[in-house]
């Protein structure tokens, strides 16, 4: 007999319930009101009074309404059929919900996350009698382009013996495929699906490794100068209108990973819908199949209930960890973690907790750290590797990076891609500020060369700001050339046109080739005597490089422009800048 209770207080989406018997923190309960069952989660226990946060609007809830407790923590279903789906923060499949409930998100309707009637072709891997533990592979089913592994459920602790395993054939997700016996001889049935509480990290691996392998995003600025590693973390803070969402969309399309999970926690529905409608149409360059097949979208828009928004990032990261356990590389993009933090702040305010900085709860930092720490590259029990990379956007009030969410995030991420209003106003995209941003990971291009280029850009900025005071006349021609070199690097390498079909995604091979060309210009001692001459030469070179960036790799047009660039440089190059010789050594 499960526990029940009665509503004794309502304040926004916080409801107080009087209950006798045992209740656990974060247990899921349902409030029965007006013929509906509203899902909620226990967030505080004080004697016989329990406070729950309701994942729905609480209009109509009254004193005395009955509450059913489930004994389960807030959990997601893990099993084949997750890929290509669009869920809300509680793992309700939104398209199916629309079929069931129509245009609006009616309260109290919860659907199975995974289709119950679909059959999957199961191939056993484990043998009868084998000793297995949580996370080890029992069998496989094909899912989209992947071999989906059916594993010993992560919540089974200890060692088990495979008592029986189903033969190859078609099964529904709730069909029993394996029976395990524990050390005491009790049997446990295993189906293709099991549940996992979202707020607990999945740790069925043998070792967590250091993220060193670069994750290719096909964005020059990131891959070359501000790299992200597989299993690493990064954040993208920026004021509204600086291009956070466009950047994330570009990454979700182009990043070289197996699976992308996009978590919209409190963003504009109009922007989410673009992803929803666009992804099924786009092809994954790697597989030639719809991009949606390797994508899961968790979609909690800004108008969905706050508690559900708070849950959404946990739902997303749990799904990511599940696929990591199969030896896959997963990229999780959360847009925006500030909205998630705001949801926490809202709940904390309702609980009347003593507020911390800017009214965020005192546990803001540990919650943020806890979320990002769920990223990582791990060695599985099978010896294979799998990774979860987490990238979160941050929307700081007024674009001020000093605020608590940005600061707490910066402490725990490995790379910082800060967007600047100044760059987005000047239409310099991506608007990641090259000098303010940093990365602790190593990219694929020689760091001595990238360091050289970076220094040149920094010098160019300095000269640029000096020129604003003393004018062009007060600057030496040498300095002016350094300034133009920095501008050139910014225009043709840092900036990238995400609307141009070719320039939008650049392979590492092409990046490395182009970077070599850029270095030729940056390290060259040039025969340019006057500023006018210098400006006009750089204009020409820049224009040629821009055309070049838009041409198909190794096409005839590309080769022609390549030659033209060679001639342009040879025309004015009289040597190598003093001190640059070492940088250019192979």
């Amino acid at each position: 007999m499960k526990n029940t209770g009665k509503v004794i207080g309502v304040n926004g989406n916080m409801v107080t319930v009087s209950v006798t018997g045992q209740v656990s923190m974060n247990e899921v309960a349902y409030i029965l009101t007006g013929g509906k069952r509203l899902k909620c989660e226990v967030i505080r226990i004080q004697g016989d009074n329990v406070q729950v946060q309701v994942f729905e609007m609480t209009k109509g809830v009254g004193i005395g309404d009955e509450v059913e407790f489930t004994e389960d923590l807030l959990a997601v279903e893990l099993g084949p059929g997750l890929l290509g789906q669009v869920f809300d923060g509680l793992q309700n499949p939104l398209p199916e919900l629309a079929e069931e409930a129509g245009f609006f998100l009616e309260r109290g309707i919860y659907l199975d996350a995974l289709p119950r009637d679909k059959e999957w072709e199961f191939t056993p891997v484990a043998n009868t009698g084998a000793q297995v533990s949580a996370g080890e592979v029992l069998g496989t089913v094909p899912e989209q382009n992947f071999v989906h592994k059916i594993m010993v459920p992560f919540n089974l602790l200890g060692t088990y013996t495979v008592k029986s395993i189903a033969e190859k054939g078609n099964y529904k997700i709730t069909d029993k495929v394996v029976v395990l016996t524990d050390e005491k001889g009790n049997s446990h049935d295993v189906t293709l699906v099991f549940q996992w509480p979202v707020k607990r990290a999945i740790k069925c691996y043998s070792e967590r490794l250091k993220p060193v392998e670069p994750l290719v995003t096909k964005m020059r600025l990131i891959d070359t100068f501000l790299p992200v590693a597989k299993g690493g973390t990064f954040c993208v803070p920026g004021p509204f209108g600086a291009g956070k969402t466009v950047l994330q969309q570009a990454m979700s399309k182009n990043a070289e990973v197996d699976i992308v999970i996009v978590a919209a926690c409190g963003e504009r529905a109009g922007e989410v819908v673009e992803t929803l409608k666009e992804f099924p149409e786009l092809l994954d360059p790697k597989t030639g199949r719809s991009l949606m097949e390797r994508t899961i979208i968790i979609c909690n828009t800004s108008s969905m209930p706050v508690a559900s928004r708070e849950a959404s990032v946990y739902t997303a990261v749990t799904l990511a960890e599940y696929y990591r356990q199969m030896g896959l590389d997963v990229l999780l993009l959360a847009d925006s973690t500030s909205r998630w933090a705001q949801a926490m702040r809202e709940m904390s305010g309702r609980l009347e907790e003593i507020p911390g900085e800017e009214a965020f709860p005192a546990y803001l930092e540990s919650s943020i750290a806890g979320f990002y720490e769920r990223a990582g590259i791990v060695a599985l029990k099978s010896g294979e590797k799998g990774s979860v990379t987490i990238g979160g956007t941050v929307s700081p009030a007024g674009g001020n990076f000093e605020e608590p969410v940005t600061q707490a995030t910066l402490k725990v991420v490995g790379a910082f891609h800060g967007l600047s209003r100044e760059r987005s106003d000047a239409r310099k995209y991506p608007a990641i500020h090259p000098l303010d941003s940093w990365s602790k990971y190593t990219g694929s291009i020689n760091p001595v060369q990238t360091g050289y280029a970076y220094d040149m850009l920094r010098r160019s900025y300095e000269i640029g700001s000096m020129m604003k005071v003393v004018g062009e006349e007060g600057t030496s021609t040498d300095d002016f050339i350094t300034y133009l070199k920095g501008e050139f690097l910014d225009a043709v390498y840092y900036q990238q046109n995400s609307f141009d079909p070719v320039d939008a995604s650049v392979t590492p091979e092409r990046q490395s080739y182009l970077f070599g060309q850029i270095m030729e210009v940056l390290t060259a001692e040039l025969d340019l005597d006057t500023k006018d001459e210098a400006r006009s030469w750089f204009n020409k070179v820049r224009q040629t490089f821009l055309d070049y960036n838009g041409t198909q790799w190794e096409s005839d047009e590309f080769k022609a422009l390549d030659k033209e660039i060679g001639t342009l440089i040879a025309d004015k190059k009289i040597g190598i800048l003093h001190g640059s010789e070492k940088v250019m050594e192979k």
């Binding site: 004193i63 509204f240 409608k277 108008s303 949801a343 702040r345 507020p355 009214a359 009030a397 007024g398």
Partner: protein
Amino acid sequence: MTKVYSKIESIAGNVISVYADGIKYGELAEVSTSFGKSLAEVIKLDEGLVSLQVFAGGRGISTGDEVRFLGHPMRVSFSDNLMGRIFDGSGVPRDNGPELSENLIEIGGPSFNPAKRIIPRNMIRTGIPMIDVFNSLVESQKLPIFSVSGEPYNQLLARIAMQAEVDIIILGGIGLKYDDYLFFKDTLEEGGALSRTIMFMHTASDPVVESLMVPDISLAVAEKFALKGKKVLVLLTDMTNFADAMKEIAITQEQVPSNRGYPGDLYSQLASRYEKAVDIEGAGSITILGVTTMPGDDVTHPVPDNTGYITEGQYYLKGGRIEPFGSLSRLKQQVNDKTREDHRALMDGMIKLYAQYKDSLEKKSMGFHMSSWDEKLLKYGEAFESGMMDLTVNIPLERALDLGWEILSDSFAPEETGLKSSLLEKFWPVKETV
């Protein structure tokens, strides 16, 4: 089933509380005082103690006044009879028309399922070049007008109400000055737009709580019309007043304040209103334009800041004009490639030159020498400001594009504009030589 209670336990600001049984969260009650009746809404339940927000405010309420619970949440009558009518924040007529009570609908309903949304695709023409040409308004878009107090934002809204190509205008006034209310009423009446307009007007002297209902009532009505296939434009002024009213009430209720005293759920509250903007497959649409006045012209103030993260761009009103630089319509790319082939190029080209004009203007003010190029830019900038940026200009998009070319050709040679040669050949005006 009505229950009447005649002992009010506490009165704090606009919030009263009574002990009552069987009350639902969000339910309405009617409070009868010696000054008349007012609606009140249940905002908190704590065992038997029910807290209510009284729409007409707490002033003059006595502990012995009667509270009668109505057993339903806030509703509004919905029918075609609403057209041309003016109501207050709680749905009571402000004009001399009859009270409407048929077909009551609940306000503040659930959100639209994102999976059912369609990508916005239709432009709403307003006849205002700074909108149509440079930051097209798109059906289903949610946009604030960021403005400093003193700017003619209500004039702009009224102009849009009269000129926008939509079926129905719903105008929600929040904390409006009485003069502004009359301005809207007279302007729309004289302009002949009243018959397609519904107004929910809360003025500054009305009780503050009533203002909180205005966006919800306006949007609930809009939603019903949209589901019936109508293109609805909802104009809200001023959303900063709405946020300030929330702040006032939250503080009276001793809620833990968040940023600058605003309640912790400011973002959620604003979002749940703005997110009602939608284009419905096979039916109509809701487009929302809301004025957000920025205290001290500070875009980092919590209200404009949170708004900016929810909405799809903004119109930045400054010096009586829509600023080309701060303004942004995120959705314009969805529509401005289908209007005329020169639209996008002209839009970008004119703004780039206008930016250069600003530089020349700065140089001039610092007393630097003006080159012949500077002179051209100055001529161009002035023509641009008077011809295009003046908010009283009312011309169709195509005429505005033609005008753009005329302004360019009056100041520059074709090759000085940075526009593609193919467009120049086609659109550059041919001048008769004298």
